[in-house]
Amino acid sequence: MRTTPPGSTPEKQGTGRGRAGDFILLALLLSSAAVHYTAVREVYLDAFRAMALAVRTALFP
């Protein structure tokens, strides 16, 4: 079953790109995510706390 549109070349994936390329991309992506997450984590942690409280209140009113 063809799952790629015309013009795309999935076959080239996995060839000619070594582990170094993977690590560079991974490092870029994960470091960017880490920087952003560190900066905004409080917003998400507050939301997790609110959710936990809501669930606790619902289960043990």
Binding site: Q13, G14, R17, A47
Partner: protein, 745 residues
Amino acid sequence: MELTFSILAVVATTGLIVAAHLLLALRCGADRVAELVIVTGTFACAQIVMSEIILGSMGALYPGLLTILNSVVALAIIAASSRNPSTPRSLLRRGARRITVVAGTIRDVTSWHHAALAFLALCTLLWVAAAVACLPPRGVDDLTYHLPPVFEYIATHRITLLPVELRLQFAYPQNAELLFLWPTIFLHSQQFVDGANIVFLLFSLVIVYGLARETGRRVEEALFIALLFFFTPVLLIQSGSNYIDLIVATFFLAALYCTLRFLRTAHPLSAHGAATAIGLACGMKYTMPFLLLPLFLVMLPPLSRLPKRHLAAVAASILSLGGWWYLRNALQLGNPLYPMNFHADGMGFMAGKGEFNLLGSLFNGKKWAWLYLRDIGIGTHDGGFGLLFWGFGTISLIVVVTRSLLSRPGTEKRMLLIWLQTIPMIAILLLVPENEFPFAPRFSVPAVAIGLLAFGELLSLITATRHRALLHLACTIFALHSVILLADAKSPTYRLDRVFSDRRHGIESSEFAYYQDSYAALGRWSHAWEPLDLLTRNAREGAACYIAAPKGLFLTAPLYGTRLQNRVWNFDPAPARSPDAFVYYQGGNGEVSYLGSKVTLDEVVAHPGYLLVSQSPEPGAFLFVNRSLLQDRRAHDDLAAFYQRGWPDGIAAARVVPSCLEDGLPVIASGSAGYGLMAQKLSGKLHNDVILAPPGWERRVAEARNFSACYSIAAPLAGYDARALPCPGIRIFKNTRKTKRYGEI
């Protein structure tokens, strides 16, 4: 029964429209399933919007006429699409075959991360759907300017311009609002109006899937990217509201998809799909003509090589779908882009000083820091692109743009058309003045889709399965973070704990009661909106409601009631009768602004024909109604239940009052005890007339009604001779007017 019929009518009519455009797209040779769905959805929305504009401008906006007009058009399209050699059955069989093939492929290629995201998305959809069904429309812009025109058009059967002196935004183009109007006019209820965005959220996923396929992603990768887009925080939070950014982003992306398809295939269907999406989007937001004109220009060279009728049809689609609002504004307000003014600071549509230094705006470090380090607006309907975009999308965009620029002309170069859309998208955001900036990230939502498409490209470059799995896991965790944000959202709230609690205890009230869980001002307003709805929702004829409030809190949508039974008296240019109800909101500094006739709070307090029904505990909202609204037995019961739920202490305290009163004099009361007495009165246990007064206004109420004697609660009336009555647990005074003695001045 009536609701069931309405649901059937809207489902059947929408189904017929969709079927017609599906056949048309198949007949015209839609090549891919994504294209089939995108073009069909876009054409169907266009038909709906056009039919509403035509009937609305004629003053004939009735559900019956909408059904007839759309059915006739749909049947004509079906007939035209079914000419030989294709029959509807053969076309549908062809479409079904393709969908089956794609569904089979998706089933074959999906793995744990797809399943995890799909499960999370399903749970989230259930949460949002429950909020839509149980909570009222509660986005602040929904209540101020997105929904009032929708409700007014339904009430008057005509598309009119609401007073721009109240809201400049009433002059904004309203194609998106007309999509909210579609189910609402059939159901004649506010209950599901905030559910329309869910449909467009799902539609946008198909478009992102299609775009991902156009950028060369495999089915499983495209599916993954589309699922990630679902978890954009601002989209999730807007999905249960009537903010229009989600719909605008959907049609922007549809236009982008169809343009790309047209550039690749030169198929006229794609050009018409792009034109329809461009026209719809331009008729939704003033920024869209500026953002979508480049796409139209890109299409022009290949379009000019097609027969001329296609170019004419494309131009006609854009102008007819987008132009109506601009034409109306030009004729009625003298400015097609009213209130935008390119010569004014802030361009006239944003408070504060505008920044027209494009380069200065693009390199404004403070705004970039707000975006990247704070994801400004997160947790609200104003912003929040999420961890997936800022964590993975932005860096991916930088990489893929660099790759595209360095590549030889070809497919990758053409992808620049997608990647570079982020520049104007982010530019319009950075141009917003700093004081308005926290409310503006939602304008640039399509940038999130483009960032995620770039992330998809980077993901496809990673060769090792375990590295991809690591990123898939990170994405799933980030998606969960986006969902959790709903738990803490205030604007709008998605909290359902009070709903569940009420259901458990068998409490039935107006859904407006749940405004209490929103931010403070809506909580205060609910003290007027909830009882107003309770008093009018079963009435044969709704109420004409007068409103006065500070401009920022002049929220009119809830006045129409959950069943759209009421009218806003101030919007009627020539009201035939006096208002049936008055609602006021007094700000902390007493600020109130008026629209149309000025009737002050003092005048209503003093008017014997109107009674105070409820006010918020702190100074804020007041509801006064004409006595006639209190005649209905069911309204009595609902109002008594409202008092019992809200003021149990007052109910308990007032229980002894009937036995303490000596005669049938009226009782003037305020606060909790007053509501308790009202409950006693409404349930027939107290025969004295009870008149509620705002605290401190008791004497004014007594004097205005010329009472020579009356009871008061908690304190005697100044200017009256007062005697305390023996009554356990509550202080009651019998007040008798001091009479002037002969010769006294």
